[in-house]
Amino acid sequence: MRHVINILSIIILLLGLSLLITFSGRYIIPGANIRDLAVFYLYTTFNPWLEKLTVNSPEAVTAIVWDYRGLDTLFETAVFYLALIAGLALARGSIFRAIISHGGHGLSLIVKTVTKITSPMIITVGAAIALHGHLTPGGGFQGGATTAVVPMILIVVFSIIFLLERGVSKENMLVLRSIGLIGIGITAIALYLFGIVVGSRAFVFQNMAKPLSNIAFPAHIRGILISGTLWFFNLFEFVAVAAGFTLAFMILIMAEERGETNE
């Protein structure tokens, strides 16, 4: 009886939500006056004829994520980092370093060989997604998440010991993750510090020249478009996310292993 009431209440909630959207559709789905905001973003995202306002990135989403709303993304990265730290704190005391290797771990030879061939390819694709983030759909987070598949596959196919023997340890991943986060921070204030040195006005999280500030990151390096800070942000975010995910997988797998061998 209780089950029926539960399901009924969910159905009523669903129907009510649909009814609300039906009646107030013109309020929930934004009207044409909001399009102006989108037009502004689309018009200034790559506009060499509008030097003081453009981001010089053909991909509008990356431009918003790392330039227009860059501070937002910095805190988002910090939240992800804090979640990892919280996970480490919760799983503390359950991590040990496996040193013994008998060579007999993992799945069959066929799976191992295929994994050896595909792993570099996956890393390449992930790096391409991250480093072309300012040109094509993608970015540091997507590329990092793609790359983090590789350690997961390696843990399943070989074993956690395979990774530990090759230096992919919990401590190293934490260091790599911190390097990524510090890199993002330094890129964010780089132009501000440069402005202090040169004696010109510049802002934190500034990328291209603004109406009040004349100095800018280079949009091109040797004729190749890098969109100023966006390329560096994507690179460091790639490192940070890939290392962070690897760390999370490793903690979970290691913790499980300890549970089996405990007592």
Binding site: H3, N6, I64, T73, A83, A86, G87, L90, A91
Partner: protein, 133 residues
């Protein structure tokens, strides 16, 4: 006819998102297993994200196919056409942020679940509720 098919497909899309949300709410509130609650929570947040992108996607471009917000040829004519046909990039950027934060929360919940299992030797929320203190 073409317009009718488009409307029909979009209606199916919206209804399936609503159905997804209903299933995930059922999972969050009524499944006793902690892992299934987490899975339902991720389904819920993904459905909400897809819905946000849908709202940003449609509507603006009448009679022209909406394009992704990526400029391919840099010229003033291409730019003005681009501002007309490209979809709103802001919901996509916000959803990207939401996905990352959701992932961080999921990660934390998984570790919390691990800790629950270590302390209580079960992931059944009914049992855990019974074990006070």
């Amino acid at each position: 006819m073409n317009e009718w098919i488009n409307t029909y497909l979009l209606t199916i899309f919206v209804i399936s998102i609503m159905f997804n949300i209903a299933i995930s709410i059922y999972g969050i509130f009524l499944r006793p297993n902690y892992i299934k609650k987490i899975i339902a929570l991720t389904i819920f947040s993904d459905s909400a994200n897809v819905f946000a992108i849908y709202i940003g996607y449609r509507r603006w471009v009448d009679n022209i196919n909406p394009r992704p917000p990526v400029l391919t040829t840099p010229s003033p004519e291409a730019l003005s056409y681009f501002t007309q046909v490209a979809v709103d990039p802001l919901p996509q950027a916000l959803v990207l942020t939401a996905i990352v934060i959701g992932l961080a929360v999921t990660l934390f919940l998984v570790f919390l679940g691990y800790q629950l299992y270590r302390n209580y030797k079960t992931l059944d929320m009914r049992e855990i509720r019974r074990l006070r203190g």
